[in-house]
C-alpha cells in the first residue's frame, strides 16, 4: 500500500514534468497552429544551461534562473528567425523545418558540450526526504517538482482566464485575423506566447537535470510522450494538457512498477518479467489508442477555426 502511494507520487511528479512541456506545445499549436517538433530542443537547452551555470556558480537556483532566461530568449529568437515563416505553411513544412532545427540544435550542443552526458546533483538543501505519508519517506526534490508543476498550472489558468494578455491569447486562438484587425500587435503576441512556451520547456529541462542524465536526444525522447499527452488532452487545450499529462504520468509509472508483478501471478517469473516490462513500455500508447477510439479529438476538443 505504501509502495502504491509512493508510485502515485512518482507518477504525479512525472505527469507535472510532462505538463510543463505539453502546456507550451499545446499553446503554440492552439494559437499559432504550429506543430513544433523542436519543442524538446528547448527542454534540452534548459537542462544544459542549468547544469553549466550550477556548476560554475554552485547555486542550483541560479542555474534554474539562467535556464529560464536562456530558453525564453532562444525560443523568441527561433520564433522571429524561423518559426514565424511557418505559421501560414502546411503541417508538412512545419514538421520538416522543425526537424531541421532539431538536427542543428543537437549538433551545436554536441560541439559546445561534447558527447558525454552531464550529471547534476540535487542541491543539498533539497536532497533529503520527508515523511508526508507516515512510514514512507519521500524525496523532497520530487515533491518540489510536483509543487512547481501545480503552481504553473494555476498560474497559466489565471494568466489565460483573468489577464489582458490571456484575453488576447484566447482571442488569437479563435480568430487571429480579427485580433490583428482590432489593433493588437499580433506579431509581438506570437513571439511572447512562443517565449512563454519555451520558458516552460526550459523550466522542465532545468528541473529534470538532477534526476536524469543530461544528454543530446533527451528532448526528443520526452517530446514523443508530450505528443501523446497533447493528443489525449486535445490539441490546443491547456486544461487537456494538464489532465493528459497526469494520466500519462500515472499510467506509465504505475505500469512500469506493477505490471511485471501482476504478470508474475499468472506466469512463471522469467516470461512474466519479459512480458510485463514489454507491456509496461507501451501502456501509454495503448491508453492513447483507447481514448482516441472514443474521443478522436482528445478529451477536451478545442472549438477553433482550424478544426485540426
Amino acid at each position: 500500500m505504501l509502495l502504491l502511494l509512493e508510485q502515485i507520487l512518482n507518477g504525479l511528479q512525472f505527469g507535472f514534468m510532462l505538463f510543463l512541456l505539453a502546456a507550451g506545445l499545446t499553446l503554440v499549436f492552439g494559437i499559432m497552429h504550429l506543430l513544433n517538433l523542436a519543442h524538446g530542443s528547448l527542454y534540452m537547452i534548459g537542462a544544459y544551461t542549468a547544469a553549466t551555470v550550477t556548476a560554475a556558480t554552485g547555486h542550483f537556483s541560479l542555474g534554474v534562473l539562467a535556464a529560464l532566461l536562456v530558453t525564453a530568449l532562444a525560443g523568441m529568437l527561433l520564433e522571429a528567425g524561423v518559426f514565424r515563416r511557418l505559421y501560414q505553411r502546411e503541417h508538412l513544412d512545419q514538421v520538416l523545418a522543425t526537424f531541421a532545427v532539431i538536427f542543428t540544435v543537437n549538433e551545436l550542443t554536441r560541439i559546445l558540450w561534447g558527447r558525454a552526458p552531464l550529471y547534476l546533483d540535487i542541491p543539498p538543501a533539497l536532497a533529503g526526504t520527508i515523511e508526508i505519508i507516515p512510514g514512507a519517506p519521500y524525496p523532497v526534490y520530487r515533491l518540489l517538482i510536483i509543487a512547481v508543476g501545480a503552481l504553473v498550472a494555476l498560474g497559466l489558468y489565471v494568466l489565460i482566464n483573468h489577464t489582458r494578455l490571456g484575453m488576447l491569447i484566447r482571442a488569437g486562438a479563435s480568430n487571429r485575423e480579427m485580433v490583428g484587425a482590432l489593433g493588437a500587435n499580433i506579431k509581438l503576441l506570437y513571439t511572447l506566447v512562443f517565449g512563454l512556451g519555451a520558458l516552460l520547456a526550459g523550466l522542465a529541462g532545468a528541473l529534470a537535470g538532477p534526476i536524469l542524465a543530461i544528454e543530446v536526444g533527451m528532448g526528443e525522447n520526452i517530446l514523443i510522450l508530450t505528443f501523446v499527452v497533447v493528443v489525449i488532452g486535445g490539441i490546443g487545450s491547456v486544461r487537456g494538457a494538464l489532465l493528459g499529462a497526469l494520466l500519462v504520468g500515472l499510467t506509465d509509472t504505475l505500469g512500469r512498477a506493477f505490471l511485471p508483478g501482476l504478470f508474475a501471478l499468472v506466469l512463471p517469473p522469467a516470461p512474466a518479467t519479459a512480458a510485463g516490462s514489454s507491456l509496461a513500455s507501451i501502456t501509454i500508447y495503448l491508453l492513447m489508442v483507447l481514448i482516441l477510439v472514443f474521443r478522436p479529438q482528445g478529451l477536451f476538443p478545442v472549438q477553433g477555426q482550424h478544426g485540426a
Partner: protein
C-alpha cells in the same frame, strides 16, 4: 515535356552501368553504398505514396521499414540458433519465404495502424503515426531475446534461388530490379481507380464525399500498400547490413525518409529516388570532412523547405515532373 523521359532514361542507364564502373575501379564500397541508396529509395517512394499522393503526412513510416527488417532478422536469428519462434515456428533463411512474410506483416501492421490513425486527420494524424511508431520502437527495445537495444547481428544474407546475395553485384542488381518493379507498380496504382480516389481525397475531400465516395477504405488500402513497400525495403536493408536494431524504427528514421521525399520532389515517383540518393550521398560526403555534418544538413534542409518547394527532381524535370 521531353525532359522527363530523358532524365528517367539517363538515370536508369547510370544505375545499370554503375557496377561496371565499380568493377573497373575496384570500388566495392561504392557498390555497397549504391545498394543502400536503392533500398532507401524504395522506402522513400512508398512514403511518397502517402504524403505526396494521399496527403497523409505519416511521421511513422519507419515502423513498417523496421518491422520488415525485424521479421527477416528474427527468422534468421532462429535459423542461426536452431531455435523456435515462441516455441512454435522454426526460423528460415530462404528469401522466398522470409521476404513475402516480411512484406505481409508490415502490410498487416500498416492496416492496423491505419484503422487507428485514419480516424483522425491533420496534426492529429502526424502525432498519432509518430506515437504508434515509437510504440513499436519501445516494444522492440524491450525484447531482450532479440538483443534489446543492441539488435540482432546476422551471419549471412538470405538464400535466393539462382543468386548469391553475398555477391555484391547480384545483390545490387536484385535491389535495382525490385525498385524498378515497385515504381512500375506504383505508376499503375497511381493511375488506377484507387489512385484517382486517393489523389482526389488529397485535393478536396468534401467534394469527393459529395460524389458519394467515402475515402476511408481507399486510404486504408493505400496505407497498407505503402507499408508493404516499406517492409520490403526493410528486409532488403537487413540483408544489406547483416544487422537489425530498433534504431531502424526510431522516429528520426521516419523523419529522414520524409526529408528524402521532400528533397527529391513531393508527389512524384522518381523524385524520392533522387532524394534518397542525394541525402545519403550528402551525408557520406559531409562525413568525410566533419563529424558534425548535421550542422550543415540541418540549415540546408531548412532552406530547402522554406524556399525550394519542388525538390531536385522538380528542378531537373521541369513542370512535367508529376507522375500520374
Amino acid at each position: 515535356m521531353a525532359r522527363k523521359p530523358l532524365i528517367i532514361f539517363l538515370g536508369l542507364a547510370i544505375l545499370l552501368l554503375l557496377p561496371i564502373y565499380a568493377a573497373a575501379t575496384n570500388d566495392l564500397y561504392l557498390l555497397s553504398l549504391s545498394s543502400r541508396m536503392l533500398i532507401y529509395a524504395l522506402a522513400a517512394v512508398s512514403l511518397d505514396l502517402l504524403i505526396g499522393y494521399g496527403g497523409m503526412i505519416s511521421l511513422g513510416h519507419a515502423a513498417f521499414f523496421g518491422l520488415g527488417a525485424y521479421v527477416g532478422g528474427i527468422l534468421a536469428f532462429h535459423y542461426q540458433e536452431f531455435s523456435l519462434f515462441f516455441g512454435l515456428l522454426p526460423g528460415s533463411n530462404q528469401a522466398l519465404i522470409v521476404w513475402p512474410l516480411a512484406v505481409l506483416i508490415s502490410a498487416l501492421a500498416a492496416a492496423v495502424f491505419g484503422l487507428i490513425s485514419l480516424r483522425t486527420s491533420g496534426a492529429y494524424f502526424i502525432m498519432i503515426t509518430l506515437a504508434l511508431a515509437q510504440m513499436l520502437f519501445f516494444l522492440f527495445t524491450s525484447f531482450s531475446t532479440y538483443g534489446g537495444e543492441d539488435g540482432i547481428s546476422l551471419w549471412q544474407r538470405n538464400d535466393f534461388p539462382y543468386l548469391d546475395l553475398d555477391n555484391r553485384y547480384h545483390f545490387y542488381y536484385l535491389c535495382l530490379g525490385l525498385l524498378v518493379g515497385f515504381v512500375g507498380l506504383c505508376q499503375r496504382l497511381v493511375n488506377s481507380r484507387l489512385g484517382m480516389v486517393i489523389r482526389a481525397s488529397k485535393q478536396n475531400e468534401r467534394r469527393l464525399r459529395a460524389l458519394g465516395i467515402n475515402p476511408l477504405p481507399y486510404r486504408l488500402v493505400w496505407l497498407t500498400i505503402a507499408g508493404a513497400g516499406a517492409g520490403l525495403a526493410g528486409v532488403l536493408l537487413m540483408n544489406h547490413s547483416h544487422y537489425v536494431s530498433p534504431a531502424l524504427l526510431h522516429w528520426t528514421q521516419s523523419g529522414e525518409l520524409m526529408v528524402m521525399v521532400i528533397l527529391g520532389g513531393l508527389g512524384t515517383l522518381y523524385g524520392p529516388i533522387l532524394g534518397a540518393m542525394s541525402l545519403l550521398l550528402l551525408e557520406e560526403w559531409l562525413n568525410q570532412y566533419t563529424e558534425h555534418w548535421q550542422l550543415v544538413l540541418g540549415p540546408l534542409l531548412l532552406l530547402v523547405v522554406l524556399f525550394a518547394r519542388r525538390g531536385l527532381y522538380g528542378l531537373l524535370a521541369g513542370r512535367g515532373a508529376r507522375d500520374g
